[in-house]
């Protein structure tokens, strides 16, 4: 039984197939990178997994059970958390309250209020936000907001974490900090499925890379295999010399 499995998943928007007949299997543990040119369907795939969208045809299974068709809050409670390509925070409540909500409403663990508060404090410390705990989320800069969003996702205690371009827009030192955090999250046993355009980051972090183009999987393998794949070089790496 695969940890996460997609069975012939198709998602159409009108005539356009953003995801076309896509099947994939992901095992628990490790970091899986998802790359592809703009409009390849990466965000759409994350939306399908997290329940923002339901597949037009096909189904998605998590730990052997069908999750496609469930609402996002149900999927969250089953242990899948996500961040958004364009940050979506609760701007008018504080940083710690953003995270606390994730902790309280995430995967049910029967914790007391104090435990949720402790968990929130730990996450604030983990992501270097302890000094900002009482700041309204909208008053943070965009990089800090991305970290709060990551913290909120982690607060739901996911087994699978979906990251949509977390690194995009970060400067080199912030990028390396974020990479360290991602590695630490992996060490905690959380499986990470991450979309990223920065090839250097994807190639160094990922244990496995999936390449999408026009909604179809064109390659799937270790970073070394991907960087040698002719099809990938032609459609993607060739035109994008970031690595």
């Amino acid at each position: 039984m695969a940890f996460l499995e997609g069975v012939k998943v198709t998602k159409r928007f009108g005539g356009l197939a953003a995801i076309l007949d896509l099947s994939f299997k992901i095992d628990q543990g490790g970091i899986i990178g998802l790359i592809g040119p703009n409009g390849a369907g990466k965000t759409t795939l994350l939306n399908l997994i997290s329940g923002s969208l339901t597949p037009t045809t096909g189904e998605i299974l998590f730990k052997g059970k069908r999750i496609s068709g469930l609402r996002p809050h149900q999927i969250c409670k089953k242990g899948i958390a996500r961040t958004f390509q364009s940050v979506k925070l609760f701007g008018n409540i504080t940083v710690s309250e953003n995270i606390l909500l994730g902790s309280v409403y995430g995967k049910p663990r029967g914790l007391s209020r104090t435990n949720h508060s402790t968990e929130t404090s730990d996450l604030l410390k983990f992501l270097g936000l302890a000094g900002k705990r009482d700041v309204l989320a909208k008053d943070l800069n965009i990089v800090e907001q991305k970290f709060v969003e990551l913290a909120r996702a982690l607060a739901t205690k996911p087994d699978l974490l979906l990251l949509d371009e977390l690194i995009a827009g970060l400067n080199p030192s912030e990028t390396s900090l974020a990479c360290d955090k991602i590695k630490e999250i992996k060490k905690k046993g959380i499986t990470i499925f991450m979309v990223e355009h920065v090839m250097g980051v994807i190639m160094s972090l990922s244990d496995r890379v999936i390449v999408l183009n026009h909604g179809e999987k064109i390659a799937d393998g270790t970073p070394e295999e991907i960087s040698r794949d002719r099809k990938v070089i032609e459609t993607y790496l060739g035109e994008d010399s970031e690595c």
């Binding site: 809050h73 701007g91 909500l101 409403y105």
Partner: protein, 309 residues
């Protein structure tokens, strides 16, 4: 963050205010009691309006519907049931209709929510008009069974309960979840919040209090028709009152309801022709110069923080 006022002082003040209010019928003239009763009614409507609309920021203009349903419950049941049962029925009818409206408006937020709820409440008013005219064959109905003292006590209890509910919800994780829903429904869903259930449940809770207020207030009207029971002005007043008082503090909506009801009673008796004009001017001034209401002017403007409790 509570400033100079310690919790003990606050509690003392609340008990004192309650005691004064509860003994009011024994020594105050009837017209004062009547005024206080309508103040309590507006306090209930405003405070219960803020239960859902405060944290989410979705402006509901359907208050008149739930209030009117409560009034009609009283008109239909007033002669056959004891007063508390009538009030409870009004509340339950408001609750049931709140669930329905909540379901219908589920996909809407912001501006669309305001317009649509207003449209719905007008639809209800016209439907009741049509029904009374064509099916029941009446224009209006007599409300029987209660005295003004009874209405006063009912509203005192309902207003207190709605204030208590608003206070507790605001300080609970539910209040914070509602804020989160207002900020981003999508992010709230993905953080595990059941947005559909929360939207409907808390909208219905506020409708419950509105329905009870209508049922309790019916006695004051003695005679009702659909246009007075579902008066669209009732939908706008709580919005104005809570903006005027300020929704960032617990006392804001209460203060707003108190002051504006008082002002409007005075205006209505002194300047019956300019009443709505002056009221309109207040509305404009509030929007332009007091975006955070009286509470915003008085307090340090600090937001209520969940973690402090």
């Amino acid at each position: 963050m509570e400033g100079k006022h310690s919790p003990v002082n606050k509690l003392f003040f609340i008990c004192f205010a309650w005691l004064v209010a509860a003994t009011l019928p024994f020594y105050s003239p009837a017209y004062v009691l009547l005024s206080i009763t309508s103040i309590l009614m507006y306090v209930t409507l405003t405070v219960s309006w803020t239960i859902f609309c405060g944290p989410t920021g979705y402006i509901s203009l359907a208050t008149a519907t739930f209030f009117g349903i409560g009034i009609y419950c009283a008109a239909l049941l007033g002669s056959s049931l004891p007063a508390p049962a009538v009030v409870l029925c009004g509340g339950l009818a408001g609750l049931a209709f709140g669930v329905l409206v909540g379901l219908i408006c589920l996909r809407l937020s912001g501006f669309y929510f305001a317009v649509f709820t207003f449209g719905l409440s007008e639809l209800v008013r016209h439907s009741v008009l049509w029904w009374e005219h064509n099916v029941s064959g009446t224009v209006g109905r007599w409300v029987t069974g209660t005295s003004i003292t009874q209405a006063f006590y009912s509203l005192l209890v309902i207003a207190s309960l709605s204030i208590l509910a608003a206070y507790l919800i605001r300080r609970s994780i539910y209040g914070m979840a509602l804020k989160a829903i207002g900020e981003s429904e999508e992010a709230a869903e993905h953080a595990g919040i059941n947005v559909v259930v929360y939207r409907i449940a808390f909208f219905a809770i506020s409708s419950f209090f509105m329905g009870m207020a209508g049922a309790a207030m019916a006695a004051k009207f003695t005679y009702i028709d659909p246009n007075s029971a579902f008066n669209p002005l009732i939908s706008f007043t709580p919005v104005l009152m809570s903006l005027f008082g300020g929704i960032e503090r617990d006392y804001g909506p209460i203060l707003g309801a108190f002051i504006l009801t008082f002002i409007s009673e005075v205006l209505l008796s002194r300047f019956p022709y300019f009443y709505t004009l002056i009221y309109g001017i207040i509305f404009v001034v509030v929007i332009l110069f007091m975006p955070r209401g009286l509470a915003g002017l008085l307090g340090s403007g600090h937001q209520h923080k969940f973690m402090d409790h």
